[in-house]
Amino acid sequence: MPSLSFSELASLDYRRPEIEKGYANQTLYVNLSELALSVKPVTEEMQRIFVGGRGFDLWLLWQAVDETTRWSDPENALCISSGPMGGTPAYPGSGKSEVATLSPLTGSVMDSNVGGYFGPYLKFSGFDSLEIQGKRATDTVLFIDGIDAKIQLLETAGLPNNAYALTNMLTQHFAAGKPRSISVVTTGPGAKNTRFGCLNFSWYDAKRKCARYKQAGRGGVGTVFADKGLRAIVARWEPVALDSNRPADKQTLKKVARLHSQEVVQLDPKQNEMARVGTTHLVPIMNDFDLLPTHNFRYGQDSRASLIGRDVFKKLFDPGFDGCWMGCTVACSHGVRDFVPLTGPYKGQKVFVDGPEYETIAGCGSNIGVFDPFTIMELNFYCDAYGLDTISVGTSIAFVMECFELGLIDAQHTGGMELRFGNRLAALELVHQMAAGEGFGRIVGQGVRRMKALFAEKFGVDALALQDIGMEAKGLEFSEYMTKESLAQQGGYGLALKGPQHDEAWLIFLDMVHNFMPTFEQKAEALHWFPMFRTWFGLCGLCKLPWNDIVPEDNADTPEPAKVMKHVRWYAQYFTAVTGRKAAPDDLIAMSEAVYNFQRIFNLRMGYGTRAHDKLPYRAMGPVTEDEYTSRQERYDKQLREKHGVDITGKSTAEKLALLRRFREQQYEELTDAVYRRRGWTADGIPTIATVRRLGIDFPEVLAVLAKHGVTA
């Protein structure tokens, strides 16, 4: 390996603006092909309509690309933003960064949010957003030095190949003795060699004296980063205080921040103990309710789930403060100290594993039939270090394991690997292959949608069988919740803008367990309100966990307990206190609605965004195989008899399976109709002219996209 070197390709000295009511009022533009660095203003209209965060990302991306742009084109932009409240140290969950780009998996717009210090440091350095276009053939690092008000593009050599070593090295290299002032965005070799590369966003853990990271995992944002020739983006900033955002009303901000922060401190220990166990508390609960995906989403329960749940990770997690942003009292970013991998380049060495979270446990554990926490931790560690999304990795491996078990593919296709559920070493080997772009892992790294096409075309597998069990929609792999028994969550996944990811709508408990929304209209209402409110967090640079993962003790007595309106009101006050823009809870929904509809139209512009793209594989709706049916026969028989009025006497399992499928697919279509109506969309899922006018996004270019698809006044 060559020795470490950095040589300057381009630089920009800039005047760092004062942050004003949460905004720097300018964005940083980088073109890697042209070695251009420049500063763009944020307009009043941009603030008013797109608010910040994901909204700014989308607006910048919209202008950077056209309908012919593909993810690997130099014109594709990778955008990263904070948001007006991003970087507030007193309010829980205020450090999120939002990433958006055209996705290698879906071909359309992808957004992904992540903790770590980068977004706030970017903003305090003087930029609400970072927009990167172009490509470099050689390793490049972008250094945003907010303290010295200087941007540098650096050509590098001698950097470590993986994100684990790279993040720690760059933190020390740029820290000037103060590692806490550094946040690094990195990926690893897997990002270059697959379509589901993730990005790691770091912060320095002063107690453990190492850089830690969280992941912008979904949709291959890391693959775009690697394809551009970027090895890292480094932001340098200090100090951070409540005044850093120069809030409009500091006293109100202090008051509402204290209320929410103290409530979390008081109630989290009585509720889910996220400050101690993170999101691992979900594992046994999901399992009890038949919602924990096992064996490629066939089933929702396994007797071994307790081996990978909260009680185990409570013992494994290294105790201590684990907030991914300063002062967050939810502090759920736990990790495992001194873990020793059994395989790969870190075999036999002690490493720190950031995680696992619920999604990784379910994706790289139960869903591939692995109920060993140590294998899950090793998969977690290497996915992060290689820059791979643990959700897409887990769901893709689960798919090929089921294909193997069903005999649709065999050892000749897999390079000799026996890809049976529970084969821990094979799962690890696949991840190492994905990182290297070798063997069968190279194929798995293309994601479920492309594997379906390849298996059908090259291996002669029945395409319809693959479609039923391949858990992707819009090209994105499912995140890790069972949806068969929750029609609302089917909509939460299928009708989500970017694909089946729970950050837009997580309605399983409200629908299936609490039965809060028995009718189509109630489900449609939920599939309006919840995606909109969840979107709002992404506009502002916030984490949604403090909203409804810790809830007030009297919440059950409120008229709409699912919405946790006490917290929604606090968020409205928080928004007003920082930005000075008067906002009531309904205004937050309206802000999101504009951005949400804009993103839907962006999908349309890129050749997607219609009803045909909102379909789900049947595995998400109901039992595909007779085994799945008979495993829950009492449930399904009862539904056929009582809900659908079918006399099942004398009917074979195959006949009942087909009947149930017909009903469930019909239900999904009816739900789709109801949701489109509620959202103000046509029957084909396109926002109407009246909707875009009401939301103030009736720009000429938006109207042109709608007109091209037959939607006119």
Binding site: P284, I285, D288, I508, V513, E553
Partner: protein, 65 residues
């Protein structure tokens, strides 16, 4: 005597989580409870016995993900 959140409730032999929740208003809102630090989900309410002097918390499980 057992403690349910911040109030005391008489204990009786054989008492289950399901029995306890019969005395709780809007019990349907709680899909999970914590008994002496151990989480119990609704499918196990009827089969989970509560020991005397147990500390019980009702978990308002509405989120996740």
């Amino acid at each position: 005597m057992i403690r349910l959140d911040d109030r005391e409730i008489p204990w009786r032999s054989g008492m289950t989580v399901a029995d306890l929740l019969e005395s709780v208003e809007k019990a349907e809102r709680y899909a999970v409870v914590r008994v002496n630090g151990h989480y119990v989900s609704r499918p196990h309410f009827a089969a989970t016995r509560i020991p005397d002097e147990a500390e019980i918390r009702l978990i308002p499980m509405i989120a996740g993900g």
